[in-house]
Amino acid sequence: MKPAPFAYVRPDSVAEACEILAADEDARIIAGGQTLIPMLAMRLARPTKLVDIVRLKELRGIRSEAGAIVVGAVTRQVEVERSELARGALPLLMKALPYVGHPPTRNRGTVGGSIANADPSAEIPLVAVTLGAEIEIENSGGRTSMPADEFFIGAMVTSVMPGDCVAAVRFPVWSQPRLGTGFHEVSARQSDFAFVAAAAQVALDEDGRCIDAVVGLGGVGDRAQRIDVSALVGQDVARFPVSELIRSATEHLEANSDLHVSADYRRRAAAALGARALEDAIAEARAAGGVVQ
């Protein structure tokens, strides 16, 4: 299992990387390589050239910026796990990260790599979609950004064009004091691809009414998706039939089947885990500050 031959370049800047990519449509970016290298080894992928961006400082780091946390594309997943900044501001991402691969792959895998790879089961894209993150893309024209929901098109398919480089992910930070998150997933083994993953984040007011709530599901269909839980907003969460809401929101989801689980299974698990994630988020938010009812 050895890759087909390719050339290797390590440009000094994102601009240079974009130039190389634009000039050769068969060139591919490599960052952490934790997904790309197996594909190379099996010869599923056979680029002419690998453009190694993992050491580009301009793509690295975690910073707080205008109501968001911006994570540079080549920031390793383990660096986010260990980041105090992320821990405080992105509790949902922190809950999801332990499910990403296993420790050795998180040591090398990058946040941008996971985004660019767009696996329908991947946790980081799920959190990005759930929170409505923006994906920053750089190319010869400069940097633009795009909502995660538009960025992900299907399994391994994104809006990235030849010559584009995912530069950063801008996760919105919720500032409400009563914030709660929930994350659940089911997979055959803990470190496997999720059959279904569910993420939820909720903000409550002093009285326990929902100010904002989001629920996202991964692994069910071709890409991570948000489900509509807007009915919860303005409601007293203590009295709201959460599982009913999730059940109706997931009833007609398009779901895939594979040799491990059926589409029906995915729909059932989506309803169950979605409800569990939302319930967890609500419980956490109720426990956070304010008056617990």
Binding site: R28, L36, M39, M42, R43, L44, A45, R46, P47, N117, A118, D119, P120, S121, I153, G154, A155, M156, V157, T158, F193, G221, D222, N256, S257, D258, L259, H260
Partner: protein, 155 residues
């Protein structure tokens, strides 16, 4: 790995125009994702060369496409088979065209495919998603043929 495909697409063209387009190897070459050439090897039979790519995954395929059970201009069956570095596949589908006004029609399709070899052996988890995406790309390209006709498109 078996794949069931099926659905219907609205095409912004007349049923007759769609029929002509679907029988035109030039149109098909443009619409089939990754298709580099289609060479006629017999009546309604073509040899195709494809350079398929979905994200990082890609490979070259050689195969054949044939049309049969034609009921012009309303229905036909298509048979596709091919093999390449990623594996091999074959499938048949039945197309039916229903007029939907003067300048629009519906293309209803249903079929089954089978994918084997490497890509089925290591990628079964996302194979159906990827196939759906490719079919989607085909129809998007087909619609484009009618929205903004380029030279050589069906009239």
């Amino acid at each position: 790995m078996k794949l069931d495909i099926g659905g219907s697409e609205t095409i912004p063209g007349s049923a007759d125009a769609l029929w002509v387009a679907l029988n035109d190897p030039k149109v098909l070459t443009r619409c089939i994702p990754g298709c580099k050439s289609m060479v006629e090897i017999g009546p309604d039979a073509y040899k195709v060369d494809m350079q398929l790519r979905v994200a990082a995954v890609g490979g070259s395929f050689e195969g054949e496409i044939s049309l049969f059970d034609k009921e012009a201009p309303r229905a036909c069956s298509i048979k596709v088979s091919g093999a390449g570095s990623l594996g091999h596949g074959n499938g048949t589908a039945r197309f039916e065209i229903e007029p939907d006004g003067d300048h629009s029609c519906r293309l209803i399709y249903k079929g089954t495919g089978e994918i084997g070899g490497l890509v089925a052996g290591v990628g079964q988890r996302i194979l159906s998603s990827v196939s759906k995406h490719l079919i989607g790309r085909f129809f998007a390209a087909l619609r484009k043929e009618f929205e903004a006709p380029v030279s050589g498109a069906a009239e």
